[in-house]
């Protein structure tokens, strides 16, 4: 059919000459390029042994913070769970008993605090919603695992280690 745009070019393929037909020069040329790359600087790193530096506003795994006396800051107000667009956070609150003042900062605390890392989209809205500065997404990349249930992180994985 006649071309409408008149910009069509018909490519004519010339028959290969002798050197092209035996392929060897092209193969050696390609091998030379591959060989040269062995002496160039590598762009990849060996994660997880080596980690790249994260940017300052990187949002990774959550951590529940402690205050300057080592008490848990979280008071189970539920604002993180309310703001969470993926509904990844659940918690059960409990009342602080007498003698636990050095464990929890407020009279209410989260007895169970769970984040489903498969649901979490790391948007950081929980961090913004928190009135007690208790949750921050300052951890590393959430590690891979085999079972779905192992991605539900409880307080054992989320709460910061005690001060000493």
């Amino acid at each position: 059919m006649e071309s409408l745009s008149n910009r069509k070019k018909v490519l004519e393929q010339a028959p290969m000459n002798f050197w092209e037909r035996i392929y060897l020069p092209a193969i050696f040329k390609g091998m030379a390029i591959t060989f040269m790359h062995m002496f160039k600087k590598k762009e990849t790193i060996f994660y997880p042994e080596v980690e790249r530096e994260f940017s300052e506003n990187w949002r990774g795994m959550h951590s529940l913070k402690r205050d300057e006396n080592g008490r848990e800051r979280c008071t189970a107000c539920g604002l993180c769970a309310l703001s969470c667009p993926a509904e990844a956070i659940t918690m059960i609150s409990a009342e602080r008993k007498k003698g636990e003042e050095d464990l929890y900062r407020e009279e209410k605390y989260a007895a169970v605090y769970e984040i489903n890392m498969l649901r979490c989209i790391f948007c950081g809205l929980c961090e913004e919603a928190c009135p007690k500065e208790a949750i921050y997404l300052d951890g590393p990349i959430v590690p891979a695992d085999y079972l779905r249930k192992d991605f539900i992180y409880g307080k054992d994985k989320l709460v910061e280690a005690p001060l000493n």
């Binding site: 008071t75 107000c77 539920g78 309310l82 609150s93 409990a94 009342e95 407020e106 779905r148």
Partner: protein, 333 residues
């Protein structure tokens, strides 16, 4: 009955003589209704304490058109024929209300993350709408220890704004008053008169009338946040009260029972303690349907218009059987 004409923010309405400005505004509805922390239409003599309902009267009446010299508490001022009232259209009123909110918050602890009332607290709404973001108060706030009034009600005097509503409930609904206010001015506090437990049938209503978290339900204490629960209207045959309530569900479980509240946050009917504290099973109630919640409320963020669970959460046996192997693989320990 004699009718009088009153104009509130440019909207004219005819009301019965003797109606308060606040109630006239409530008959108009919408944005012109002044907020009220202490006035409660179901409680006689309530109002005049908190000053949040201040309005400006720019024309006294048809006979005496001089404006009133000061802002007036609209819950305690009766309308006059031809009266002109400014509420949100007056900058003076808006400024004054801001000051009142600051005043109410002086001794109020900002422990909303802990407080069970958060999410349905009138002071929270008021401060959000009219208040300033920061407090200027630098001195120590007054604090009290928690007091248990009986085994069902808890009093946090620290959070109290002295609206006297609970005292009127104790006075007017219950037979003998075991609950009042001691002290004056800055030193006044709600007292149960030597912590005598209230064992009246209607004592639980002090929880509902309290605009802040000063009087809370001990059976609901720290159970859950209000916005994670689902309100459902229900009723039952109750020999002592009307039996009309709102059930607050978390999953399958009723975790709290309150009286249904109208658009001004006032209960429609007072309910008895048996309905409120003793009957917390779905089988005790006839479910009417989900409760309508204003979409401006945080409670509506978790509120669905259908009572039954959506089909996606229903257990599907066919699907379960088909994915049995994978499910076991994923959940093995």
């Amino acid at each position: 009955m004699e009718k009088v004409k009153v104009t509130i923010d440019g909207i004219t309405i005819e009301v019965d003589a003797g109606t308060s400005i606040l109630n006239a505004a409530r008959q108009i509805g919408g944005d012109v209704v002044p907020p009220a922390m202490c006035y409660y239409s179901k409680l006689k003599d309530s109002g005049g304490k908190c000053r949040t309902c201040l309005v400006k009267v720019s024309k006294g009446s048809e006979k005496d058109p001089r404006p009133m010299p000061k802002l007036l508490a609209s819950c305690r001022t009766a309308v006059m024929d031809g009266m002109e009232v400014q509420n949100i259209t007056s900058l003076e009123v808006v400024e004054a209300r801001k000051g009142v909110v600051e005043m109410l918050l002086i001794n109020h602890p900002l422990d909303c993350p802990v407080c069970d009332q958060a999410g349905e607290c009138h002071l929270q709404d008021l401060a959000y709408e009219h208040g300033v973001e920061k407090t200027r108060y630098e001195f120590e706030r007054r604090t009290f220890d928690r007091i248990d009034i009986g085994d069902k009600i808890q009093l946090h005097m620290t959070r109290c704004i002295l609206c006297y509503r609970c005292v009127f409930v104790a006075d007017q609904l219950t037979n003998q008053r075991v609950h009042g206010i001691l002290g004056r001015g800055d030193a006044s506090e709600i007292s149960t008169y030597i912590e005598k437990a209230i064992d009246n049938d209607f004592s639980g209503n002090v929880i509902d009338v309290c605009p802040v978290g000063a009087l809370t339900d001990r059976t609901f204490r720290f159970k859950n946040r209000v916005w994670f629960t689902k309100p459902v209207d229900a009723h039952r045959d109750c020999p002592t009260c009307s039996g009309k309530v709102t059930l607050w569900y978390k999953g399958e479980e009723v975790i709290r029972v309150t009286a249904p509240k109208d658009q001004f946050g006032e209960v429609e009917d007072f309910i008895c303690n048996t309905c409120r504290f003793e009957t917390k099973n779905t089988s005790d109630w006839v479910i009417e349907g989900p409760r309508q919640i204003a979409n401006t409320s945080v409670i509506s963020s978790n509120h669905y218009e259908i009572a039954q669970p959506p089909p996606v959460i229903k257990t599907n046996l066919v699907l379960q059987e088909a994915n049995k192997e994978q499910f076991e693989k994923a959940t093995r320990s």
